[in-house]
Symmetry: C2
Subunit: 549 residues, 2 copies
């Protein structure tokens, strides 16, 4: 493996970073079903265009609607599916390493559960039609369902729970960037009363471990802020209390918009220009632990009680993050605000160079993917985000006060980045893939009057399935031998069991390793007795699989 | 392992059947997070009752709604979640053994896609509210989305696809029986033109392999029928063409209702009593391959073209099922009709003794579970079902004719059965479980002025995480030693790393195996240097894990 220190460009870094997951991914890419490899390649290199049936099939067509998935949703299959599954499994492994327990909640919740939790974004919630039952809506995230669960299950005082599931937002989709209306979130949350900032630090440790497992550690930055510092700062600068959340959401846009535009939004929201400027002077600060010294030596902030409570938390946090060896990934960023209403303490967001519009556009030049006409002013956005929300459970159950802190990974955005890298890697020609996970193709041949030996092929395949061996056969009564070899080769299936009438009568079959070079002693395969077949196949698979897997 | 032949009662069978998956399940049950084992036990032995906040918390409460999940939905966690995950993984393994490729489709589809596919049950479809976009509805099954995908992706001619995902039906829920409004289906379908009945037979082979993997092979029966035989039979008996589907759905109820009631429904649907009786005489037939002889020797049926086409298919099928060694599980049942509109050939349904109301009631007596006031006249129902649907893709794309055959496993119902067996098993006291998947608890102790060594505990935990070891520590600054032991024991965590100031200063920590008997030479643990810690832990885990796992 190339050393990080010898890497010269972002593209090099990309390739280098992908090496480890790629090995796993490549192994799994062999899982694609036999003759569809070509298809999957084209399928996954572009999002499927809707088919307007009326145009394509003439007036006689019964269909009067477009054949497509709903706006902002897509199908997943082939290479895309395999990459995504490998992301899930890497994340799950880290979650379990930290003692996580899996929760699954319904895809829709009662509308009252979701109401008043998402600030300005509540308009993006998908409602279910009233069909004479309860008013429900598709879940918007996995955090509110967790809080609802904690409120209901009164015997639970502490839990580390994780959930991997789809969430729904009626936002403007940007498909090429992985911003969809239906998308996966992978959440890990620590609920319960613990000493300050210890669980918060563990969550950030988990963030780093997940991106390490995806070999993306070198490209991420965790932007941190504290709601108490932010709100205190707003108060100290003279932002009226009832405007704090709306000004906060304007400040949050500083990573995408220039200060002038953010200031304009603040003024439109009713803030005096001089107050906005005062706020601006602080929220432009970013750095590491040194920001705490800056705040402490600032006359205005150091006398604000709220700010100083936040500073105390941050002191502890930096100490713990040092013990967890993740300080190098942290950027303390006073402009980070996060849109959601329910955060009460530490907040954070994980970004990569592709998160910004410029970064994404630049990488696009290197890759085939196109963002056909989508908004060029946004990037992939943050790829993970979260924070502390100590009062959310309490909103559902007055007598339950369960402090929580958590993180949500945006898998579809992570997928977009990993896929782009995989495409670059493939261009280098490193991708010698097998198209199928199947290990054995059962075939038959014979001379004149050959009946296809279908029942015999079935029975041998069955023998292999019973032994747990992945096997297929041509699903026709009388397939020709070249046709059967073609099917096996198309799938990159390494072994063939070949049946002939005479051999079968003697209780034997031929086992042949496919793709051996001319002149190899076993090029024509070897005759073995049927009862030894499973064992012989397992031996061969152990041997030939090693170099590829 | 007990032999099947020595089993005397259904209860014995149950225990025996569960043994194999149980071993895997038990291993995974150890994955439950530390102090919540007790909680999970109670949580999963009953479905959560809704909490009426107004009653519970007095008038001052802001909540005016019940804190619950929507009707017919539930949360999954703990033991339930682990059993369900083990079912998924067994099924996935079988699907991949047969060359399956995974597809994921959106949870909602355009309403037009679902329209006209589900006969009388279309009223059970959940619509999304019109929010100024497209009209969409939650998917009702995974078959129609597959057909939509095949119609859109015109380059695909053949595929074995599988999908494991939730589907939605606004039906009357029966929670204790696993009949929910939100539930999982696991589908495997073979699409493409092959020689007749070969893929159909492979699908039935897959059914048997799946229940073998779940150690339920002995309790299932696959009921088979053929739409062409059924429709031909209706025609031959004098059922008018436009009534065939509705009469068919009446006949389908013969497994739940007595003939008289089914006949009454037929008459209400406009069938003459003598025609109904004629139909009744045939649909009561069930058996094996012999039914084909009965049909062939029947003057009325043997002259019906449709019936004889179906008989020809069934002849082939029985031949193939014999080669696949699954004939013993088949019941050819002329009353099986399946409600869905889209089937065109072979249809099938997998039932167990618990599928019927009597079977379920009987098993309930043996188990703790209660079906609180739910309809006692239904059982768990079929636990897998499917058939051939050659025209469904064509409904979406006139020029695409892709014959399909598939199976859908009802995981929630399978779960209900497995869980009941697990409870019986637990009663026998065989269930020695570990409550957590975590392997190491990092703790600290000290004398007067002990500061808790939090940073040191963090740093050691971090060392273990980096090596991929599952580890936790008490998330408080100064935990007492007994408290830390209690946390470790509650989780059944096998190893403790104990930090002391003097030992740390000498670069050493204590590694202690928990739960060793008095007098054991390593009862007090052993001092080892920090750089050897990971290696020593891995050695110990290899040793102590073997007998349990």
């Amino acid at each position: 493996m190339r050393l990080i220190s010898s890497v010269k460009s972002f593209r090099d870094l990309t390739l280098c970073a992908l090496r480890r997951p790629l090995i796993r991914t490549l192994r799994e890419i062999r899982a694609i079903n036999v003759p569809y490899q070509q298809h999957f390649r084209s399928l996954t290199s572009q999002i499927q265009e809707p088919i307007d049936m009326a145009t394509k099939e003439g007036k006689s067509n019964k269909l009067s609607f477009q054949l497509k998935t709903p706006k902002g949703t897509r199908d997943w299959i082939g290479v895309d599916m395999i990459i995504r599954e490998s992301i899930f499994s890497a994340i799950t492994e880290v979650f379990k390493r930290h003692g996580g327990t899996q929760l699954d909640t319904p895809v829709f919740e009662l509308k009252e559960i979701l109401a008043g939790k998402y600030g300005e974004d509540s308009r993006l919630i998908y409602d279910l039609a009233d069909q004479g039952g309860e008013d429900s809506a598709l879940r918007y995230d996995l955090t509110v369902p967790l809080a609802r669960w904690l409120a209901m299950n009164t015997s639970v005082q502490h839990i580390k729970r994780f959930q991997i599931a789809k969430v729904y937002r009626r936002d403007q989709p940007a498909v090429a960037k992985g911003r969809m209306r239906e998308f996966y979130q992978c959440d890990f949350d620590i609920a319960g009363s613990y000493d300050p900032m210890i669980p918060d630090a563990e969550v950030l440790r988990i963030v780093v471990e997940v991106f390490e497992a995806l070999n993306m550690r070198d490209y991420i930055t965790i932007k941190l802020n504290h709601r108490k510092i932010l709100d205190g700062l707003f108060g100290a600068c003279g932002v009226p209390g009832d405007k704090i959340r709306s000004i906060s959401s304007a400040v949050d846009k500083l990573d995408k918009l220039p200060w002038e535009q953010v200031k304009l939004e603040m003024e439109e929201k009713g803030l005096a220009p001089e107050v906005a400027d005062k706020v601006g002077q602080y929220v432009k600060l970013s750095g590491g632990r040194d920001i705490l010294d800056t705040i402490r030596s600032d006359d205005l902030l150091s006398t604000n009680e709220n700010v100083m409570k936040g500073v105390e938390d941050m002191e502890l946090l930096f100490k713990y993050l040092e013990a967890f060896d993740v300080l190098d990934k942290i950027s303390f960023d006073l402009s980070l605000a996060r849109g959601l209403d329910y955060y009460t303490g530490l907040i954070y967001e994980v970004v990569t160079p592709l998160s910004s519009a410029e970064g994404f556009a630049q990488s696009q030049k290197k890759s085939k993917s196109k963002s056909n006409g989508e908004d060029q002013n946004i990037g992939v956005g943050s790829i993970a985000a979260g924070g502390r929300y100590d009062d959310l459970v309490n909103m559902f159950a007055k007598k339950r006060q369960i402090p929580c802190v958590g993180i949500s990974f945006g898998v579809d955005r992570i997928f977009t980045i990993m896929k782009q890298r995989l495409e670059n890697e493939a261009k280098e020609g490193n991708a010698s893939m097998r198209a199928s996970e199947v290990d054995v193709f059962v075939m038959a041949f014979g001379g004149k009057g050959f009946n296809g030996l279908l029942l015999e092929r079935m029975s041998v395949a069955n023998q292999l399935w019973k032994a747990g061996i992945k096997a297929e056969f041509a699903q026709t009564v009388k397939p020709k031998l070249p046709q059967q070899f073609k099917l096996a080769e198309a799938g990159g299936i390494p072994l063939a069991v070949i049946l002939g009438e005479d051999e079968l009568a003697a209780g034997k079959v031929k086992l042949k390793e496919l793709g051996l070079p001319e002149g190899h002693p076993e090029k024509d395969g070897t005759l073995i007795s049927r009862e030894d077949l499973v064992e012989e196949i397992k031996k061969k698979l152990n041997k030939i699989s090693l170099p590829i897997r």
